[in-house]
Amino acid sequence: EDQVTQSPEALRLQEGESSSLNCSYTVSGLRGLFWYRQDPGKGPEFLFTLYSAGEEKEKERLKATLTKKESFLHITAPKPEDSATYLCASGWADDKIIFGKGTRLHILP
């Protein structure tokens, strides 16, 4: 069964403490691997799309990478405003889209 698994479920960091979030997927025919940020009471907001293993994308303190089985979202020197739930999603060849359950990130000042 196609699956997208995110870890950890929740992560608390001190401001400035860098870390990584993991998204692993099991299936062939990946069309795209997406990262979204979701703030409480709001819809997910697009961050990155990765299409092939080895690809990397950066935006401010965030960097997303992709291998054949997983993706990482690296957060460098995070600030309290980076606190949110980060969602990973994968798109498959039959147009199917599967979201992971997310990682709740809390950055302490």
């Binding site: 795209g32 907001e45 697009f46 798109g91 147009d95 199917k96 979201f99």
Partner: protein, 115 residues
């Protein structure tokens, strides 16, 4: 300008009622979606439409019926509401006909509470 809008933002109703949620996007996208996010924040796709044509119909009770009057609108009608339908429903859109390839833009969500 709001890219993807939904109405209403909150919907509280009794079991057995019929209700609709409306969605509009002004991005010129070809594909629109409905998602359900449950109490554990798990986001699951329900339907997708491309140019008014149903593309994805996940295992959803047939009490849920999407309707796309044009490319910019995708409404969700729910018949005979049940307690388990309580959730946040998100509308989204993406460019192109291959919805699994392009990023999606989400609306603000509609919180449905069934009493």
């Amino acid at each position: 300008d709001t890219a993807v809008s939904q109405t209403p933002k909150y919907l509280v109703t009794q079991m057995g009622n019929d209700k609709s949620i409306k969605c509009e996007q002004n991005l010129g996208h070809d594909t629109m979606y409905w998602y359900k996010q449950d109490s554990k924040k798990f986001l699951k796709i329900m339907f997708s439409y491309n140019n008014k044509e149903l593309i994805i119909n996940e295992t959803v009770p047939n009490r849920f019926s999407p309707k796309s009057p044009d490319k910019a609108h995708l409404n969700l009608h729910i018949n005979s509401l049940e307690l388990g339908d309580s959730a946040v429903y998100f509308c989204a859109s993406s460019q192109g006909s291959e919805g699994a390839t392009y990023e999606q833009f989400f609306g603000p969500g509609t919180r449905l509470t069934v009493l």
